[in-house]
């Protein structure tokens, strides 16, 4: 299991490679990327802030719980912090499993729980000059 908060660009394919074992028939790779709009406003860039030590601990806890309840193999999660441009990868989740159903549902559960439980925050900078911390899940 691998959980990382990083200021460096994420290489999703590296995560997918590192989780695969010979017993796995499926590797699901989810990537979240920075989009150029939110609620009708043009977004220019995003800044992510994290309570890093706790974020890693909560991520590990989530991955352990997901592994206990799904028939999956290894899991790797990486989340960016700092300023990101449109199109950059903000989060990547790789899940390997013997069969695809478990990999899909585990991947889905990890991203949904990450958005609700992991202490990470996002500030949008808009093309019209404003900037706001987002408060909630989308």
């Amino acid at each position: 299991m691998f959980c990382l908060i990083t200021a460096d660009p994420i290489d999703p394919s590296q995560l997918a490679r590192q989780v695969r074992r010979d017993a796995d028939g499926a590797v699901i790779l989810f990537t979240g990327v920075v989009r150029d709009h939110h609620a009708g406003r043009a977004v220019e860039a995003l800044e992510y802030q994290a309570y890093e030590e706790m974020a890693v601990a909560v991520l590990r806890q989530i991955c352990e719980e997901v592994r206990a309840t799904h028939d999956v193999g290894d899991i790797a999660v990486a989340h960016r912090v700092g300023e990101l441009a449109i199109g950059e990868v903000s989060v990547a989740i790789a899940v390997a499993a013997p069969h695809r159903d478990a990999a899909y549902s585990a991947s889905r559960e990890i991203i949904e729980r990450l958005k609700r439980e992991v202490p990470i925050w996002k500030r949008e900078r808009y093309s019209d000059g404003g900037a706001e911390w987002l408060g909630g899940h989308d």
């Binding site: 903000s90 202490p119 996002k122």
Partner: protein, 80 residues
């Protein structure tokens, strides 16, 4: 006793700092710390019942604090 407070995102803007060391009476609860901070910042931007973590674990407002504890104030999270 001394506790270390950590602020993130909107709360960091309110506190004007990422970290703050505070002297509190022995056996103070998280609630007492929140009241202290709301008075110090003279703001309602820090809610009366914020989500907090004590030593990196989510904790309730009636948690009793100890010397050297790290209390993080966690505004609504928005990772992903």
């Amino acid at each position: 006793m001394r506790v270390k407070c950590l602020f993130f995102a909107t709360y960091r803007d309110v506190a004007g700092a990422a970290e703050l060391e505070l002297e509190l009476p022995e056996n103070s609860t998280v609630s007492a710390l929140v009241r202290h901070l709301r008075a110090q910042f003279a703001t309602s931007a820090l809610p009366t019942s914020p989500v907090v973590a004590v030593n990196q674990v989510y904790a309730s407002l009636d948690t009793v604090l100890g010397d050297g504890d790290e209390v993080a104030f966690i505004p609504p999270v928005a990772g992903g």
